[in-house]
Structures are given as structure tokens and as C-alpha cells.
Symmetry: C2
Subunit: 641 residues, 2 copies
């Protein structure tokens, strides 16, 4: 160890999976000194997670990288439940819209995790500020006490072994062959055992000192074990299979998400994917022991699927990946230590894949802590905001585990049904207490499952109540819903959310109401001085000012607003035409013209909204309440000296 190379970084991210890459995306935006290390020698290429919920897609869009997954992924819009028909077959009993209309501009998609990891690798690489360092095996973690405000302290030390050889830590995933050696058993994976394989070479040791550590190192988190945190929760003993195939089938709903429950053969969750692939989660009805595991392979899994789906046939010639898993719901007692070490994703919560939530909640963990670390490390925000990570995200994980328990119970029930009726085939069958009611489960959970319903509790970052009587549907603590508005200068329709890219800025949205009313115009005029002095308390680019008025677009021009609202005049580039917007109808876009109404904002009176860098609403107040706004911002922002 005496010869170890010693280095320093502001932020160390362990793990370059979806969570780690999401945090890396933020670190790129903030341009903070960052290292991202991963023990594996390459990103995954097949299998693993595949569901992206709408909030995750919104986040992707906020980084400008949603297009590929949105265009290429399979878009889930509805889900069918199939039940036993009381004889030897199954019938469609329900057709459920997976998402309420209007909650997002996206619907959820299913796509290979590899595409998602590559998307973020490309984003970070394009920024060119750091790159992912692979074959880096952490071996020792120490954390010393430090004052939260000490900016020059590196309280974290990690010893890392640079592996010379491509890491065999993870067995390659199954790739179209059924050979037994390719199976990947998540529960058996153990990096300690694998680590021993690496000792043959003389490998470099590095001692990395970091101000902050973010552990995104998965369900078997090395960091979590170093910290002595023990996962709490339950685990069943039954093993499920998961397989990605191109199905050869006459099942009519194969390209629709389906929950299929046979009378005695078990259940399947069918998820269509990109490029004609389907993912099947198959209840194998077997206890998890080595004898059973030895007998499970893609062929036996499809045999089980065939029994569940009878009389429909299913087979495959191409298998992309397969794995086995046990169902459990477990959570770490802590998500952070000393506000210096943070854990995200599978490292702190594990559950079944049934709700397609894992990758989403994990990436959203990292999205939450990522901007906070960026804001603290760049000196924009006070370190005390870091404690909101655990209060905001552990609650989400607990909700997820509850939802997962409920759905797991649903899949575990095998229900005998009366024969199919024409009404049933159309999904219009009335529900009875004996029917597994997937529709009801989805409806109860829909906002949570979409990710848009997640509402953070009051904290230093989120006010507990609005000071405006004119903003009824702007949800404090939740992400600001996006509706289509128009650019005042060009009449181009845009989604409100596209004004809130993940670029580190806080935003003050001035819903100015009807500025053709003299009283409102004078209110706006009087806002200039206090708003200007509020903004100037903080460094440039800390806060954006965006105005959305509700007067008819053609009756107003940007020159009807005080210069402050048009942004600074640049002597070469002139006025910024992307500061003033209008909630009005548009000839070519029927979605425009209802933003005020949908947000519950009074079209005459307007309001002020304070938005965090993660698009969550932190403050809502009356149009004149710059003082309240200033108090909110002053609670966590660091003023210029």
C-alpha cells in the first residue's frame, strides 16, 4: 500500500449502471471534478432492466437524450389481464390503460437497459469532462468526521485496485444459446468470491480521496457492506424465470403488455420490447434450491410458459437473455452517512421487477442527489440540502416496496374463472371480488408508477404551503406538470418542461396573468426592482426568470414587458426571444391554450412559482410575493459575498 498512487476528486461515483450514469450526467452539467469507477470491463449488452416510466423519460428529455429510447422503445399504452376460462384455456378479462390521459407528454416504454446506459455514456462523453473508468475494484473504504461546511476536506478515502484483465466478475449473459454456463443467478452473485480470481497479476493500487461518495453499486453493494448497513425486509423462497425471446406464437395479445394467470400452471407477465423481442416473467412454481436451479433453462421455462398460455402456442428460436430471480422487498435503514456518503438504486432497495420500476426509481435517486451534490460542490447551495436526499428518496423506496408487495400478491393468486363471454373479450367485464383486479391496482398506483405523482415532503428545499390563492393545481414538492405554451415572439408551440432543462439553474416562473389589464401591467412593472435585486444576490446563471402570460398572443409583443423580463440585451445577439411565453391557442397545435387552466392558475391574476433544478416545485406564491420567494431561496442558496 505504500506505493499506492494517491489522488483527489470532489465526487467519486462507484458503479456505471443507470444510476451511476444519471449522477454522472449531472456532474457533467455542473462541471465538478468527478471520477466514475466500475469494476466491470464493459457495460452490459443484454438483459437486466427494461422499463422506463414517464417521469424517467421526462428526465431524459431534460438532458436532451430522450429521442432514441422514445422512438426505438416499445410504447406501453395498455395492459391486458388474461384469466382461466374455467375449462382448459385462458381468456382476456381486462384491458387497462396503463396511464391516465394527460399526466405526461410521454407514455412508458420498454427497451434494453444497454441502450439506456449507452445513451448516458454518450452524453457524458460528449461533454468530455470525464469518462467512466472500468476494471476498478474498490477494496477499502474509510470515512472520517468532517464539518459539513469544510470545503477543503476530503473525508472519504477509497482504495481501488486497477484490474489488468477484463473483469470476469459477472458471467456473460445468455446470448441466444441455452448452455447452462450462461445462466446468471442474481442471488448467487458474489463479488468477494470473484475478486479472488484477480490476484494473479501485479495490479496498480490507487488511493482516492473524495469530498463526496455516491454508491450506485447495485443489489450487492460493496459500499453498503463496508458501511455495515444491513438490508431489512422479507424474501420468498420461490424462484421466477425471466427470459427475452423473439416469440413464435398465435397469442393475439403478444405485442400488448399482459398479465396471464392460468388455473393451475402459474402466471406470466408479458412485456413487448423493441425489435420484436418480448420479455416474459414466468412463475416457475419451484423453490429456490440447487437441484431446481440445475433443471431450469430457457427450454424448461418456455415449457412452463406454454402450459400457462394454453391453448395458445409459444416457442422461440432466438433467445436474447435469461435469468432467475427470487421475490423479496428489502430496504437499507439509511440512504446516506454523515451527508458525505450516499447510496442510490439497488444498493438501498430491492424488489420484484413486476412493476417495471427498478431502473426508474434508481435513476431518480441519482437524479435527486446528483444536482444537490453539484449545487453544493459549485458553492451554489448550502451543504444542509444534502440531508433532503434521504428524506425525499427513502420515502419513495418505501412506497415502491409497498406497491411491489401488493402486486406480488396479485401475481401469486391463481384464480379459477367462469367461461369467457363476449363482453369479457373486450375487457368490459364487470369486476367481482373474486377476480384479481389489475385495473384497480393500477389505478390506485398510477401516479406513483408513472413517477409524476412523487411528491417530496416539506423541507429546506420545498415550502409547506403556497402563499397564492390563484394557483390551485401546482403541486408543491412534485415535478411541475408540463403543458404546451407558445413562444411570444415566434408563436412556436413548446412544452413548458423544455424551458426547464437539467442544467443546474433554479427557475422563477412568472405567470403574469393578463397584462392587458392596467392593474396587472402595473404589478408586473413593480416586480422589476425587487426581482432584479433578488437575482443579483446570487452568482450569474443561478436563477432563470421565465414569463408566461395569458393575454391573447396577437395583442401583445415582448416589448410590452419591462426589459428585465426580456433578459439582458446582448450587444451582438440582441434580445433573448426565449424568455416570454404565452398560454394561447395555436392553429397548428390543438394541445396549446390550456396551461393556466390545467395548472389551476387564475388567468387574470397569475402567480409566482419557484422550481428546483430537478423540475420539482419548491415554492408557489402570489405574483407580488417576491419577499416570500426570497425567503425560500435564501434558505438554501449561498449569496454572493
Amino acid at each position: 500500500m505504500a506505493s499506492a498512487k494517491i489522488s483527489h476528486t470532489d465526487l467519486l461515483i462507484i458503479g456505471a449502471g443507470p444510476s451511476g450514469m444519471m449522477a454522472a450526467a449531472w456532474a457533467s452539467q455542473y462541471n465538478i471534478k468527478t471520477r466514475v469507477i466500475d469494476k466491470n470491463h464493459a457495460r452490459i449488452s443484454k438483459g437486466q432492466a427494461d422499463g422506463l416510466q414517464v417521469r424517467t423519460l421526462e428526465i431524459f428529455d431534460s438532458f436532451g437524450v430522450v429521442d432514441e429510447v422514445w422512438n426505438r422503445g416499445y410504447r406501453d399504452s395498455e395492459m391486458c389481464t388474461w384469466l382461466s376460462d374455467g375449462e382448459n384455456g385462458i381468456h382476456r378479462s381486462q384491458r387497462v390503460l396503463l396511464q391516465k390521459v394527460g399526466i405526461s407528454r410521454y407514455t412508458s416504454v420498454a427497451i434494453n437497459q444497454a441502450v439506456i446506459e449507452q445513451t448516458f455514456l454518450d452524453l457524458v462523453s460528449q461533454k468530455g469532462r470525464f469518462h467512466v473508468e472500468r476494471n476498478m475494484l474498490p477494496e477499502c473504504l474509510s470515512l472520517i468526521e468532517s464539518h459539513p461546511d469544510d470545503k477543503d476536506c476530503y473525508p472519504i478515502n477509497i482504495t481501488v485496485r486497477h484490474l489488468h484483465n477484463p473483469s470476469p466478475l459477472r458471467a456473460p449473459n445468455g446470448t441466444g444459446k441455452d448452455t447452462r454456463s450462461h445462466v446468471q443467478i442474481k442471488e448467487d452473485e458474489d463479488s468477494d468470491a470473484a475478486k479472488e480470481q484477480q490476484t494473479g497479476n501485479a495490479e496498480a493500487i490507487e488511493s482516492i480521496n473524495a469530498k463526496y461518495l455516491l454508491a450506485c453499486d447495485g443489489a450487492h453493494s460493496w459500499t453498503r457492506r463496508q458501511l455495515g448497513l444491513v438490508m431489512e425486509g422479507e424474501q420468498t423462497d420461490y424462484v421466477w424465470g425471466v427470459i427475452d425471446i423473439i416469440p413464435l406464437t398465435d397469442f393475439p395479445d403478444i405485442r400488448t403488455a399482459c398479465a396471464i394467470h392460468s388455473s393451475t400452471a402459474g402466471s406470466i407477465l408479458n412485456i413487448p420490447r423493441e425489435d420484436r423481442i418480448n420479455r416474459l416473467y414466468i412463475q416457475l412454481g419451484l423453490e429456490d434450491n440447487s437441484n431446481n436451479r440445475a433443471n431450469i433453462n430457457p427450454r424448461t421455462m418456455i415449457e412452463t410458459a406454454r402450459k400457462i398460455m394454453a391453448p395458445y402456442t409459444i416457442d422461440y428460436k432466438y433467445c436474447d437473455w435469461w435469468s432467475l430471480y427470487k421475490i423479496g422487498q428489502r430496504i437499507s435503514p439509511k440512504f446516506s452517512v454523515s451527508n458525505r456518503v450516499f447510496l442510490a438504486g439497488d444498493a438501498v432497495h430491492t424488489h420484484s421487477p413486476k412493476l417495471g420500476q427498478g431502473m426508474n426509481v434508481s435513476m431518480q435517486d441519482a437524479y435527486n442527489i446528483g444536482w444537490k451534490l453539484g449545487a453544493v460542490l459549485t458553492g451554489t447551495a448550502k451543504p444542509s440540502i444534502l440531508s433532503t436526499y434521504e428524506t425525499e428518496r427513502r420515502q419513495v423506496a418505501l412506497e415502491l416496496l409497498n406497491a411491489d408487495r401488493e402486486v406480488t400478491r396479485f401475481y401469486a393468486r391463481n384464480v379459477h374463472k367462469t367461461p369467457s363471454t363476449p363482453a369479457a373479450a373486450n375487457g368490459s367485464e364487470p369486476e367481482t371480488t373474486n377476480t384479481p383486479n389489475f385495473k384497480l391496482i393500477r389505478e390506485n398506483l398510477h401516479a406513483f408508477l408513472a413517477g409524476v405523482g412523487i411528491t417530496y415532503p416539506p423541507s429546506i428545499l420545498t415550502s409547506s404551503q403556497t402563499t397564492s390563492p390563484h394557483a390551485l393545481h401546482i403541486p408543491l414538492g412534485a415535478r411541475l406538470p408540463s403543458h404546451k405554451i407558445l413562444n411570444q415572439a415566434s408563436a412556436r408551440p413548446i412544452h413548458l418542461a423544455t424551458l426547464l432543462p437539467s442544467n443546474s439553474h433554479f427557475r422563477i416562473l412568472i405567470f403574469s396573468g393578463n397584462i392587458l389589464s392596467p392593474s396587472q401591467a402595473s404589478l408586473i412593472q413593480n416586480l422589476t426592482t425587487p426581482l432584479e435585486s433578488l437575482i443579483q444576490k446570487y452568482p450569474p446563471s443561478t436563477i432563470d426568470i421565465l414569463t408566461i402570460h395569458s393575454s391573447p398572443r396577437t395583442s401583445v409583443s415582448i416589448f410590452d414587458f419591462p426589459p428585465f423580463f426580456r433578459g439582458p440585451f446582448d450587444e451582438v445577439l440582441g434580445w433573448d426571444y426565449d424568455r416570454i411565453f404565452v398560454d394561447d391557442i395555436a392553429a397548428h397545435d390543438s394541445e396549446c391554450g390550456s396551461a393556466y387552466q390545467r395548472l389551476g392558475i387564475d388567468k387574470e391574476k397569475g402567480c409566482l412559482v419557484g422550481v428546483r433544478p430537478d423540475q420539482h416545485v419548491g415554492w408557489v406564491g402570489a405574483l407580488g410575493d417576491v419577499e416570500g420567494l426570497g425567503t425560500w431561496l435564501g434558505g438554501f442558496l449561498v449569496a454572493k459575498v
Copy 2:
């Protein structure tokens, strides 16, 4: 010449501007042996054309390359007319929607021609089948008589000089500086004079033999002159200025397209562009002579603009490009010679830039001849289809010249107006015979200007009348209007047009009507055998079969259609789920569910539609009329031997 390298190619394209690159895109799709040569050493980087009409955007989408121009370009949705207010100023008199609602999924955009050329260079380079050869100066053209059906004949010979040095043929465009040497006078450009500069080096000569030649070599077309074709038409003597600047202004409509007519200082056409740039076409009121030209520069142009726009101010610090032009409308008497040499774009029609049509009509010329050359050279279609190029496209050019004359007259009028009224400011002013009525001009021309109204006359490729009484709004000869439908298997909403990519295939669209009706189901069943034998007369991939039914989506599955309609079953990939679609509503997409109605198709009875590779409707008939369909296809397709 004895030492000249001799080579052979199927298709030679001269000119790698927008038209040449559009033809190159087709050549890449058909994978025909192609050379693209250009005398310039690099693509343009600034200036030139910038308007893309909606049909052009649809064509870009058909090659999968619309995203960048659509997202980055400035979207024109409306245009304002400003007139003299009768005193010393101007006022807004009209606000015109540039495009009727519902005619396309796009609105027109304005973006630098360089972006467009690069988009197609990237497309061709991605295909990797050939590349653009630059610094290639054609010197001699000969064309011998040949039989149209002789596939092995190379009747065209072109001698080309490979220039060693970067070609100075075109003066570089103005780039932010006002230096006199940067001005580019289109009318003065003369490649013969420039050619002499190239004689100092010993440069290789190549003798290229080609089966077909497509000349996209611009307004001073070398090819056209070699063929002895003389442009016909008129030309004014007045010079206009065009300038791309980032304006510093208080003009309220600067980010809206505007026609501005002062009382005595002249007119301006203002076109907002990407990245805060504006293009201004400025009537300079000067005759075209060397003295006047010597006195024109960006500063004098902006001085004129300032007078026209008074009392508003306008200035700039950044000028991207500028040029001068004279207005005229000229057309070549022929667009092709011996069905072996074809001319497209500016080589055969020139006019003013006022309607933003030039690049569009030019690229659409190449889009028209491109697929025909591809189909003939691959042996799919008979050479006789080539004569439809001139009959289809010369008519379009004549219409364009007429429209340009009308708009030129409009801009030439300087009209004195009574003072502004509040109604006028909102664009609701009643029109009088003394007012230049831009609204009326646009409305008369709107379908033509959008490009979607272009209807090709009856020919070997286009039937003269439909045989179905159940398809009222499917326009024979025009491009098939696109409406949103749903994939039957996945419920994903898609635009009908995305089923018709520019990949060389002809399409038979089976609007099957309501297949829940027993008579309709039996009609569909009975279509299988005749359709199958029709398709099998031609090589694979010549014709796609796509079905769009009108029964409720949830009452039907793809297995309710005969296997033929589902496409061939692949033993690894299974069924193709992208063959059967439905016209039904969708929860998350309010645009779905009206395709039959908008196309005027009877929802019970349906119809058959034959679509050419360029998305133009060639044939419409009753659902059972496979014989009529076969006759149409047999008229131009080459059957298997």
C-alpha cells in the same frame, strides 16, 4: 485526351447541392452504381436557400432525416403584412396563417442550406455506397442515340478534369465582415472564366461513360449549355439585396415572417431563421449596373432597411452572409433529352426567392426523377416511365413561375395606407381593392406552396380515374395525405406516411373497411389468391401490402386476417406486426381515429390504393378490383421472367 482514364457508371449526377444530394439519396436506397461529381471543393457553409416547405419535410422524413431540420429550424406558422400608416411609419395590417390546418404533420421551416446539404451528405455517407467527388470539372459532353431498352448501352460520355487545388470557382460567401471582396453576385458568376484559373496544374482527365445523366448544376448549368437549351422568360433590371444578420431591433414582429411595405422607401421580406438569425430580402430600388453594385454593401443595405422599417430601428453587429440578385422568371424548354439526360432544379427554372420555393421545387424535381432512374436501372420498371419526369415536373415549374410573377408584382407595389386602427393591429382589418392582399395570394396558392397540392397528370404511372365509389378524397396523382392510425398488434399511434418510406417499394394499401361484417370478411378472404399471384409476378420487395381496417381495434386481432395479410411468417422472427393497422381512436393521442373519414373512404366498404415509391397515389379502386390494380402495375413494372 489519349491518356484519359476511362470509367463507366450507371448514373452520373453533376452537382452536389440540394437537388443532386436528393437524387444521391435515392441512388443510395436503390444501390445503383452512381457517381456524384461537383466542381466545388466543399459544400456551401452559409447563405443561399433556407426555406423548407412541408412536402419537402415529408420527403426528408421518408428518408429518416427530418429531425434535425425540424427541431433546429425556425418554424414559420404565420406571416404579417406591414404597410405604411399614411404618415411616416408602418403598421401591421394582416396576420396570415401560412398554411391551412391539417394539410400536413409539418409546418414550413427556415434553416441554412448548409444544414440541409450536410444532412444528405451524412445520409449518403452512412449508406456507404458511394461518396461525393469534389473538384471535378466537366469539360465535354456527348450523347449518342440509343434504344431505351438497351440496358448495356452507355450513351453518355463526359470528360471531367480532376482539379488539384481547392476550387476558387465560387467566391467565399460573406462571413461577418463587410469587405467588398466577399460579395457574391449570382448573375456574374461564370464558370468559364473561373475555369481558366485552373490550367496551371497538370490535372488528371477522366472520361466517364454513363447510362444516365442527371444535371443538378444550378442556374448556370454547364450541362444545359452543352445541350444547347436556352432559358425562356423575362428578367427585371432592378437589383435586390439579401442579407443574413442577427438583428438588433425593436421591431415587434422580428421573429415572425413579415412582408413590410413602406410608402416610399421600398419593401422588405423578413424571414426569421435558426439561432436568432434573420434573413432580410431588401428592395434596393436600384438598377443593376456596375456603379450601383459597387456602392452596395451590408451597411448600405441596412440603411435602406432602416428607412423601410422606420420608426422602428434595426442594426446588426453580426452578418452571416449577403448577396445581390435580380428578379426574373425563366424556364428551360426541355427538362430531359432522349430520356437519358435529365436536368433538375435551378438548371431548368429560376425565379425570385420570395416564396421560399426554390430549394423545394428543385429537390422535388430530383426526388421525382431519382426513384424512376432507380427503378429502371434495377430492372423493376420499364424505361418508358422516364418520360413522366418532364410531364410531371415542367408543369410544376410553370406553376411556380406564375406564382412568383404574382408575388413579385405584390412586392413591387408601394401602397399608401390610411392610419392604423386597433383592428388593423390585430390583423383583422377588412381588405379593400387598394390593399396589397397578401392573405388572398397565400390562400390561392397555399396547397401549391406547401407542396402537398402538387398533382401529377394521368400517365403510365398515374391512372386517370378511380374505380371505387368509396374513396372520395384520395387525390389521384397527388401525394397520399397522412393521418394517424394505430398499429393493430401494439396500439402504437403512427402516421400513415411512416409506412411509406422512400425505399423503392410500391405499396398496395388495403383499406379493408369493417372486417367484422361477414360480407367484408369474405371479400378480404377472397382477395388473398388474386393479390398473392399479382405480387408474385414481380421480384421480392417490389410491392408492399399494408392493411388498414376500420373495425374497433379491441374487437379484432391480426389473427382475424388471412395469413397473407400478416406478411410472410419468418421462422426466427415470427409474424411481422407492422402489416396490419386500424383507424381507431387512441386514449393518449387525440389525432387518431379519423383517417377513413378524412380520406373520404367508406368505413364499411373500404377501397384499394396503389402508391408509387414517391408517396404519390397512382391508382384507386374498389376493394375487389385486383384486376384493375394489376393492369395499372402491369403498365410499368417488369414482370419476373
